[in-house]
Symmetry: C2
Subunit: 107 residues, 2 copies
DNA sequence: CCGTTATATAATTGATCTATTATATAACTA
DNA sequence: TAGTTATATAATAGATCAATTATATAACGG
């Protein structure tokens, strides 16, 4: 799954997570996203491109502005993959629990 | 959150995700994890170090072997962070729904 | 003790990432 | 139309990453 590569590595960067957190409050233009950071506009534009490529945001054109907002698809894909780990963890815990349950009476 | 950095970038690599998928089936030693991949043992050892550093796996010592298994903490932290995005996405969808609901009668 | 097995670490190389500056484009505004 | 604003792209430098080979360590089996 090449999308998972893109989605997870997009999320690996704290600036990009902060951008997503900002977009969780609602749509924002590029300059609005530049403002809170100590980074140049091209740097933010690049981060946005990465987030868009990963399917984590979408952009529309509005005159000279390109407001960004969160997109749902990538999050769903990540959730789906993590569900596999969660299931495994639960299963292993259950197994551990039953091992402990078996041991206790004998100790 | 520096742990999120580590966890997401650990998950960004397809080899590491494959290792986790393998561990979802149960504990495995380093050599057992090397076998299915077309990579050298040092390469896998490095990936395991990254996964351990991210809190995604734990290892125990068993003679000369170091069996690895999944660890729950990092997944929980990731889930928690993604929950924020999910909430925002739902909220935005609700908003869109209500906008559409408002528009329809007038169209 | 010795050779083997399981794993880790170091040095190195090539690739990828991130940020910067400089510049381009395209749409508003006067 | 000229100047400004919003954004994108290119060139580039420095940092980090991932893989390899070579080597170290440490436990196990005879």
């Amino acid at each position: 799954m090449p999308n998972l590569d893109a989605a997870f590595s997009a999320l690996a960067d704290p600036t990009r997570r902060a951008i997503l957190a900002r977009l969780a409050l609602g749509e924002a233009t590029v300059m609005e996203l530049v403002e809170p950071f100590d980074l140049t506009q091209p740097a933010i534009s690049r981060h946005l491109k990465v987030l868009e490529g990963a399917g984590l945001i979408v952009r529309r054109v509005e005159g000279t502005k390109r407001p960004c907002r969160l997109a749902p698809s990538a999050v769903a894909e990540i959730d789906q993959w993590l569900a596999m780990l969660r299931r495994a963890l639960e299963t292993n815990y259950d197994r551990l629990d039953s091992v402990l349950a078996t041991m206790k009476p004998e100790q």
